[in-house]
């Protein structure tokens, strides 16, 4: 009988469903591979993922990398050497790049300028001569005046990304200034100074800000009080007038390189208070967290707690605020040099170039002298976009 019953039961559904699959107790909390990847990812990887979704920030970052590459290889990118003067081409307007000559495609070229001095208005008049075609050469080396350079002052070279055609041809993409120097080349050369001053400045400001803010935040008490008051005092100065006063105090006899570092120091001097304040408030909040107390109870030294546990947890915020502080320093340098208080020739930065455009009479006649403001605005814009993206990404857990 029992056999029959078993046979009958086999046809009907069993009263209890019992899966024959092996039982996994973690089944309902198990993660898909993607989730697994997400939860196992480090903090920095999460931030990178979050930043990657911020299209504008990524584009701005790529643009900045490009700018810094140009700054590093300035001599190669610029067709002319920094101090090269073409005495036959004073105040030449920007040369147009043409592709077709008399209906025929012959690649990028410029028409040679015919220059004459207009005695009536006492100024040079340059008109393109449409019979003389100067084809622009690419990845070329030498063959014209102003091609020789010393790469970072280390070794000589004459290789360029693009150059004018031979001895008499010219490529003045953004015209020339009062001494016949190519404005485009000078902007490219100037990027080295303008872009590096922000980086060096931010490093200085970081060291000062983290050290001072760290001391204030970690020790608290009267140390904190004094530092807080100092920060308040420094913040109640309008920046630019103080920068002006400080850079006017730099001795005139200093060599250019010392002036450069002097200006960087001055820029950092007014930037660290904001950073120090951010570090302090973050430290004050973080040192009460459980992991900091645990590290303390386990006998970790103060140095280790700060360096190993606290700093990594707010480093991302610092990077974000740095990318927003760099453009301010670049602007500060530009403003100071523009006023003639910052860097001085022969050091060339965008601000030094703009110094030539200070006079409205000159600008009205030769508007291309204002060209250095284009890279300034683009750089600042890019840093702002990147900084916004970084700030959003800095907190990947929200």
């Amino acid at each position: 009988m029992s056999d029959d019953r078993n046979e009958e039961d086999a046809d009907k559904p069993a009263p209890h469903f019992v899966s024959r699959e092996p039982f996994d107790p973690d089944d309902d909390v198990a993660l898909t591979p993607e989730q697994e990847k997400f939860y196992m990812a480090s903090q920095w990887r999460l931030m990178w993922w979050k930043l990657r979704r911020h299209r504008v920030a990524v584009a701005a970052g790529i643009f900045l990398i490009l700018l810094y590459l140009i700054a590093i290889f300035a001599e190669v990118v610029a067709p002319y050497e920094l101090q090269h003067r073409d005495t036959r081409a004073l105040f030449v307007p920007p040369q147009a790049i043409h592709l077709f000559h008399e209906g025929k495609f012959i690649g990028p070229f410029t028409y040679r300028y015919k220059s004459r001095f207009d005695l009536e208005n006492a100024q040079w008049v340059h008109t393109p001569d449409t019979t003389k075609v100067d084809r622009i050469r690419f990845l070329c080396s030498g063959g014209y005046r102003g091609a020789e350079y010393e790469f970072w002052g280390l070794f000589k070279g004459n290789f360029h990304l693009f150059c004018p055609a031979g001895k008499r041809g010219t490529v003045f993409l953004l015209g020339t200034d009062r001494l016949g120097r190519d404005v485009f080349s000078r902007i490219v050369h100037g990027s080295r100074i303008s872009l590096s001053i922000g980086l060096i400045g931010i490093v200085l400001s970081f060291v000062l800000g983290i050290a001072i803010g760290g001391v204030a935040g970690f020790y608290g008490g009267w140390v904190d009080n004094i530092i807080q008051r100092l920060i308040e005092v420094l913040k109640s100065f309008p920046r630019l007038p103080l920068w002006m006063a400080l850079s006017a105090a730099l001795p005139i006899k200093w060599p250019p390189i010392m002036i450069y570092f002097g200006i960087t120091l001055i820029l950092a001097f007014l930037d660290w208070p904001g950073l120090a304040r951010a570090v302090r408030s973050k430290l004050l909040a973080l040192r009460e967290e459980d992991f900091a107390i645990a590290a303390n109870l386990m006998g970790a030294s103060t140095k280790r707690i700060i360096g190993r546990h606290l700093v990594p947890s707010f480093a991302s915020h610092l990077i974000a605020s740095a990318s927003l502080a760099i453009p301010e320093m670049i602007l500060g340098e530009t403003a100071l040099s523009f006023l003639g208080l910052g860097l001085r020739p022969p050091i060339t930065s965008w601000g030094v170039l703009l110094n030539e455009a200070q006079n409205i009479q000159v600008v009205a006649l030769y508007p291309w002298l204002m060209a250095p403001m284009i890279p300034v605005i683009l750089t600042v814009l890019a840093f702002n976009f990147l900084g916004d993206g970084l700030r959003d990404a800095a907190d990947p857990y929200t």
């Binding site: 109640s236 002006m244 403003a335 703009l354 009205a364 605005i377």
Partner: protein, 332 residues
């Protein structure tokens, strides 16, 4: 409230003392003094230098005393309205800076007003129409406004005005009113010229303020009480005006402390470009020629603006927000 005001005023005194000390150190920093510059200049022109006369001048201005003593005599002078002597212009500093400080105040004040009015209008409009065309345009222009340094903006405007309208837009008043006593006509002329520097200086501040107001208002509009109010059929305008807008206006007061230094910085450099008779050009020249009392007084005045402006914004914030008023201490 009274305790809070007293506390803030008391804190202000050491701040101002420290500011004055830093200003004095900075103007003392360059090696040498104005008289040495003067000697060098006279020598280069081949004039005979009477060292005895120079020595007498130095003694008269107290430049031979130790710096500490010089500092205190300068500080006490400040309290009595005696700002020292300008070597370059050979006049008391107070005579030189009086009108400029007033004009700086007018420019600063109108710039702040401009920032408030424009960012209130645009910010509210844009926040209530998130991701619309107007919103995107405003955001883009805002980014551009933040990235364009004001002295370059001034340069561009000057160039465009010159090219298109053949117009010179420099100056803060018509030339005939310069160095004239104040009158209604002069004041009117100032008002006529005021709008360009105000726009130039205020642009970046306005862009920042619009962004903050927009973000605040968007946050507030998503809250449940707004949804409830809307669901109950309250008129949309009333929903907006009753609470969300008022709450999100906090940065208008709170951020003056951070905007004011920027505005004053901006006015200093824009003044140089636009050739305004406010602090800019004279401060620059004073710094170059080491005319220390003139430069120091300018720095002191500008910092005083910032400190007082911050104080007023803190007090206004305390009046608005009881949490600050009763905790008595730190504001931000």
């Amino acid at each position: 409230m009274f305790r809070y005001i007293a506390h803030r005023l008391l804190v202000m005194i050491p701040t101002l003392l420290a500011v004055s000390a830093i200003v004095f150190i900075i103007i003392q920093l360059p090696p040498g003094d104005y008289l040495e510059t003067l000697i060098a200049e006279m020598q280069s022109r081949g004039e005979a230098v009477d060292l005895g006369q120079i020595e007498a001048l130095r003694r008269a201005y107290g430049l031979d005393k130790p710096p500490i003593e010089q500092y205190f005599s300068w500080l006490f002078g400040l309290f009595q309205g005696d700002f020292g002597w300008s070597f370059e212009h050979n006049r008391p500093v107070s005579e030189l800076i009086g009108e400029r400080v007033l004009l700086t105040f007018i420019v600063t004040f109108s710039t702040i007003l401009f920032i408030w009015v424009v960012s209130f209008a645009i910010g509210t409009y844009v926040a209530t129409r998130q991701y619309s065309l107007a919103d995107n345009v405003a955001t883009f222009v805002g980014y551009l406004g933040l990235a364009t340094p004001n002295f370059l903006l001034a340069l561009i405007l000057m160039y465009l005005a010159n090219q298109w309208f053949d117009l010179s837009i420099g100056g803060i008043m018509d030339d005939k009113f310069r160095n004239q006593p104040w009158s209604f006509a002069k004041f009117g002329s100032v008002l006529q010229h005021l709008w360009i520097p105000v726009i130039v200086i205020g642009t970046s501040g306005t862009a920042g303020m619009i962004r903050r107001l927009r973000a605040n208002l968007l946050d507030e509009l998503q809250k449940q009480y707004v949804v409830t109010a809307r669901a109950k059929g309250l008129h949309p305008r009333k929903v907006l005006w009753k609470y969300p807008l008022r709450v999100s206006l906090n940065p208008f007061i709170a951020d003056i402390g951070s905007i004011l230094p920027d505005v004053i910085s901006g006015s200093a450099i824009v003044a140089v470009v636009l050739n305004l008779d406010i602090t800019g050009r004279m401060l620059l020249d004073a710094l170059r020629s080491q005319d220390m009392f003139l430069a120091g007084s300018f720095l002191m005045m500008l910092s005083l603006f910032v400190v007082i402006g911050t104080l007023l914004s803190d007090l206004a914030l305390a009046a608005l927000d009881p949490r600050i008023r009763f905790s008595g201490g730190a504001t931000r």
